[in-house]
């Protein structure tokens, strides 16, 4: 594989009420972001089990981003606060394991922030692309 052809694989978890709607709005406004970002819909950012993130890295994802409602705006009152705490812990552990902090991110995107969503994804994809392929946690047995 040539370096200039390298495309990162990014998994984005979006909460159903704010960020998924924000992603839809980015679409409605035709705001481009890299196709490397693949979105998975979850009811709330607090539904994202650290296992999912570990699994993504194990399967060769280069970056994982979590999007939820802004603090105080969670549809379920407090879900995003759980997310914030859990991810702070998980990300520092991943950092210890060699998954750079830049590969993981939590971002608050409201349903009205289509532009922010696109911007965030562009920036995140750029950051991850600059870091190159994630090899630390990748399980080569999963590779075909």
């Amino acid at each position: 594989m040539q370096v200039n052809e390298y495309k990162p694989l990014i998994v984005a978890f979006c909460c159903n009420w704010c960020s998924y709607a924000g992603a839809d709005l980015a679409g409605n406004n035709r705001l481009n972001y890299p196709a490397d970002v693949k979105i998975i819909r979850v009811p709330c950012s607090c539904r994202v089990n650290p296992m999912f993130i570990l699994r993504a890295f194990q399967r060769g994802a280069d970056g994982v981003i979590l999007c939820g409602c802004h603090p105080g705006d969670c549809h379920y009152t407090s879900g995003n606060y759980y997310t914030r705490r859990r991810m702070a812990l998980l990300f520092s552990m991943l950092d210890y394991l060699g998954i750079e902090k830049e590969r993981t991110r939590v971002e608050w995107v409201s349903a009205a922030e289509g532009a922010k969503f696109a911007e965030t994804m562009n920036d995140f994809a750029k950051t991850v692309a600059a870091l190159g392929e994630n090899k630390r946690l990748e399980d080569l047995r999963c590779k075909k």
Partner: protein, 664 residues
């Protein structure tokens, strides 16, 4: 193994312009579980839906994936289509290839590649989908209103008006709450009693409303539509149904030295008392802490003078159990204690009073009969200083004040100042303020009238010290605009005390599993869009228990809460969201973590008997999710250490399969 059908929508050129839809349909054919795959111009059209219905019947499909626009747009449509064809609606998954693919990418190969991956992820999820049926629960058509102030009264009247029975539980011997203690109301200056007491009479006369006065809620069980509530009716030693409220007993009672709570201790009442003339229910109550008969067994005057024979010294607390479909919290507020603000000398001088005390001093039914007199020497005060924000916006002094703005003080202080200047033009009135906040209809005009027409001196700055000297109060404060320290010899100092939620709110919130903020105000389900509902289903909020409010706001919120309750009680059955948490009791270790993270109190623990492999039985503590209460956020699934908790519709293995499909 599922039999899955994949339907790829062109959406005109919206999708087909950037995504090679035929290639997507073709690529999906080989996915595990897929038995049919096609594309069509407009999947959401009638013709498109017919294709889906036909395919379900023809290929005996057990699940479908529609690659189209956002699920927020047409998920409901396609679920209905599936249901019409006899498929469980929760066997439908949408791959969002319009908003999150074709619209944000420009090149066809890239769009097509991503669309295929998204569709594969959806197929992987459907493979693990299970049919879901929303739970149903019956609704008890009766509402409970906790608190009998203006908020509770208005909510109860509105619910009763719609034809549903309502019970009001009030801890005091009468309903009416704080509003009954007020003199006049801003900004129209109509007398509080004149507009409140007719409503109290309406409550008393409404055959749909029961009033449990002198009572409190002690236990709440059940969930939305099916609450079971225990109400403790404290012994009032007077038979409510027999007492005529003539008041003879209160006149004859020899114990007349009891501080009168209704007048905030500024005069006395008898041990058997009716709080005020327009009380509802108009029934006497014996105060067991002061009644000689109850304390020493000697007296019994009231029972002798009562011609109706309503006195019952043997009365005991009674417990009433009742079922309710909805609960409205209207527990209201209290002014905070001024004891700790020693700079204002509240505890040292009788002439430093709170605004609520001033209301009673100005009220015709108050301790002075409506003439404004100093509490210490009953002289007419000539210089009055009002201090605003006492304890409000007090971030640094959490042990004595509150960090929020109490909202009503600016307006009632303007009202007091205006009324005093109107009635006693020889009085000089000073108001020390930090900001004057008067948003509201006719509010700012009202405040300006106090300044411009009535000549109230508004001074920008705070009072730093009040020291009693002789019969005067030396007030030292700053005049920030002038840039000087001001010294005023005042006769009366009135403190606009911050308000706080009633003390009963916190234990009540625990009983209701309703959430509260750090200031003990009840939290609303959404601060903008669901302001009168608690996050706990079936619990509604009315009045100041949710945040500081004036009377017009309280009444409108009370009406809003009532309409939400009526909307709930109108239903015969509640249909739940089937995507709820579910605990695998074989895996649950009974650790209670999920119970603690659940924002809705939907999880409880029960002791359950399990048969062990060796044929013995063992009792274990396991989590049980109440499906009627769970909203399906999934916080518990992540918190669960043993992996017993899962969320239907978004199961761990389903999301994992999506991750795998994307990362292939």
């Amino acid at each position: 193994m599922q039999r899955i059908g994949v339907f790829v929508c062109h959406c005109g050129t919206n999708i087909a312009g950037t995504v090679d839809v035929k290639a997507v349909a073709e690529a999906l054919k080989t996915e595990p579980g897929v038995v049919f795959s096609t594309d069509y111009q407009y999947m959401c059209s009638q013709a498109g839906q017919d294709i889906i219905k036909k395919a379900i019947a023809e290929y005996n499909l057990t699940g479908i994936v529609v690659c189209s626009c956002s699920p927020r747009m047409h998920e409901a449509t396609f679920r209905k289509t599936a249901a019409a064809a006899g498929l469980n609606p929760y066997m439908v998954e949408i791959a969002n290839i319009r908003e999150q693919c074709s619209w944000v990418h420009k090149e066809v190969p890239i769009g097509t590649e991503k669309a295929i991956i998204l569709a594969k992820a959806a197929v992987a999820k459907v493979n693990l989908n299970a049919p879901l049926t929303p739970g149903e629960s019956p609704v008890t058509k009766r509402a409970l209103v906790i608190g009998g102030g203006i908020a509770g009264i208005q909510t109860a009247l509105d619910i009763a008006d719609a034809g549903f029975p309502v019970d009001i539980v009030e801890t005091k011997p009468t309903i009416g709450g704080k509003m009954a203690q007020l003199d006049k109301t801003f900004p129209t200056l109509d007398c509080a009693a004149c507009i409140l007491t007719p409503k109290m009479v309406d409550v008393a006369q409404n055959d749909k409303i029961r009033v449990f006065s002198y009572s409190e809620v002690t236990e709440v069980g059940g969930f939305v539509g099916n609450f079971e509530v225990t109400i403790k009716r404290r012994a009032r030693y007077v038979k409510e149904d027999i007492c005529t409220g003539c008041g003879l007993c209160t006149e004859k009672c020899p114990q007349k030295k009891v501080p009168n709570e209704f007048n905030l201790g500024m005069d006395n009442r008898s041990a058997i008392y009716i709080p005020f003339a327009q009380a509802v229910p108009k029934v006497a109550t014996i105060d067991p802490n002061h009644c000689m008969k109850l304390k020493t067994g000697k007296c019994g005057v009231c029972s002798k003078v009562c011609t109706a024979g309503a006195i019952d010294y043997e009365a005991k607390d009674e417990f009433v159990k009742e079922k309710y479909g909805a609960i409205v919290v209207a527990t209201g507020f209290n002014p905070i204690s001024m004891e700790k603000f020693d700079e204002f000398a509240y505890s040292q001088s009788k002439d430093v009073i709170t605004s609520l005390e001033l209301e009673r001093l100005m009220n015709a039914a108050g301790p002075t009969g409506g003439t404004l007199l100093r509490p210490s020497d009953h002289e007419h005060p000539h210089t009055i200083v009002f201090v605003q924000c006492v304890g409000s916006r007090c971030e640094a002094c959490a042990e004595k004040g509150k960090e929020y703005c109490s909202k009503i003080c600016c307006m009632y202080t303007a009202k007091h100042a205006m009324l005093i200047r109107d009635k006693y033009p020889d009085t000089e009135v000073y108001v020390f303020y930090i900001d004057v906040r008067t948003p509201g209809k006719n509010f700012d005009e009202f405040y300006r009238r106090a300044v411009e027409e009535y000549g109230v001196h508004y001074i920008k700055g705070m009072v730093g010290k009040v020291s009693p000297e002789g019969n005067k109060l030396k007030v030292q404060g700053s005049d920030l605009i002038y840039g000087r320290q001001l010294h005023i010899d005042a006769d009366l100092v009135v403190l606009a005390a911050a308000i706080e939620p009633d003390k009963s709110a916190r234990p009540l919130a625990t009983m209701l599993t309703a959430s509260m903020d750090t200031n003990d105000f009840f939290t609303e389900a959404h601060p903008k869009l669901r302001p009168v509902e608690s996050p706990t289903a079936g619990v509604f909020l009315s009045g100041t228990c949710q945040g500081p409010k004036d009377i017009p706001e309280t009444v409108s919120q009370a009406g809003a809460a009532a309409s939400k309750v009526i909307g709930l009680l109108c239903k015969d059955k509640l249909t739940g969201n089937p995507c709820v948490a579910h605990s695998d009791e074989m895996m649950c270790n009974g650790c209670s973590t999920c119970e603690k993270v659940c924002p809705y109190g939907a999880i409880s623990y029960v002791d359950k008997e399990f048969r062990m492999p060796d044929r013995t039985t063992k009792v274990r503590r396991v989590a049980v999710v109440n499906e009627a209460v769970c909203q399906g956020c999934g916080a518990c699934t992540v918190a669960c250490m043993s992996g017993a908790m899962d969320l239907k519709g978004f199961m761990n293995k389903q999301i994992m399969a999506e991750v795998d499909a994307i990362c292939k």
